[in-house]
């Protein structure tokens, strides 16, 4: 497993694709070298690949949207989150309970072992959201972009 940017990066061919759900472990500020116990599902928005100029190794980064099972209905507007809740969608996504993905909380992460450790299934990838939710997500992006231009 190549070390890139100080991290043990996973091979590019194992990287998630857009609309996959992955687990990410958030470190504590006090222990930035180790994954924290706070594990959250993240929705992958896109994947980029790179070549490290120093080592020649390939690596990948993911732009993700954070998820939580805490209800956002009383906190956010309906266009500010993607709510995955029906049985088939949860099953296909690999989620255990209804989950809210927050449009306003995205970040780009390295595809690496430290913060996305393997689960018992041999990958941090849990599943992929169904097509109707992908279309909902695209609509949310359009709304967000339109509101930003107001």
């Amino acid at each position: 497993m190549p070390t890139v940017l100080g991290h043990k990066c996973y091979p590019v061919n194992s990287a998630p694709q857009a609309y996959d759900i992955i687990w990410a472990n958030f470190p504590y500020n006090e222990h930035p070298y180790t994954p924290g116990p706070d594990r959250h599902p993240c929705l992958v928005l896109n994947t980029k690949v790179f070549k490290d100029n120093n080592t020649g190794n390939d690596y990948a980064s993911l732009q993700v949207m954070y998820g939580t099972s805490k209800s956002q209905k009383d906190r956010l507007k309906p266009w500010e989150y993607l709510h995955i809740h029906n049985y088939n969608a949860l099953n296909q996504s690999g989620l255990f309970c209804e989950t809210y993905f927050l449009v306003g909380r995205t970040q780009r992460l390295l595809w690496c072992e430290e913060y996305m450790p393997l689960t018992e299934h041999g990958t941090p990838i849990l599943g992929k959201i169904p097509m109707d939710y992908i279309l909902q997500l695209k609509k949310l992006k359009e709304i967000r972009d339109a509101m930003a231009n107001l």
Binding site: S61, Y66, K128
Partner: protein
């Protein structure tokens, strides 16, 4: 050291077992910042340098948000 399965090896639509992990807590700005700081700390890069290293690659899936 184990590496993740390749995409071709993944089997979606399998029933997942209930997880012991609780993700009911909210995502806070502090958590986002802690992940940012952790990646900067370990890579030895500044925030701007790390941003470039994570963003300037070739898009292979999805669209920029």
């Amino acid at each position: 050291m184990k590496t993740p399965k390749t995409r071709a090896e993944l089997k979606f639509f399998e029933p997942k077992e209930a997880s012991d992990f609780d993700y009911s807590s909210d995502i806070t700005d502090e958590k986002i910042q802690s992940m940012d700081k952790a990646m900067m700390h370990k890579s030895g890069l500044s925030g701007v340098e790390l941003h470039e290293k994570l963003n300037d690659g070739i898009l292979i899936s999805g669209e920029d948000w």
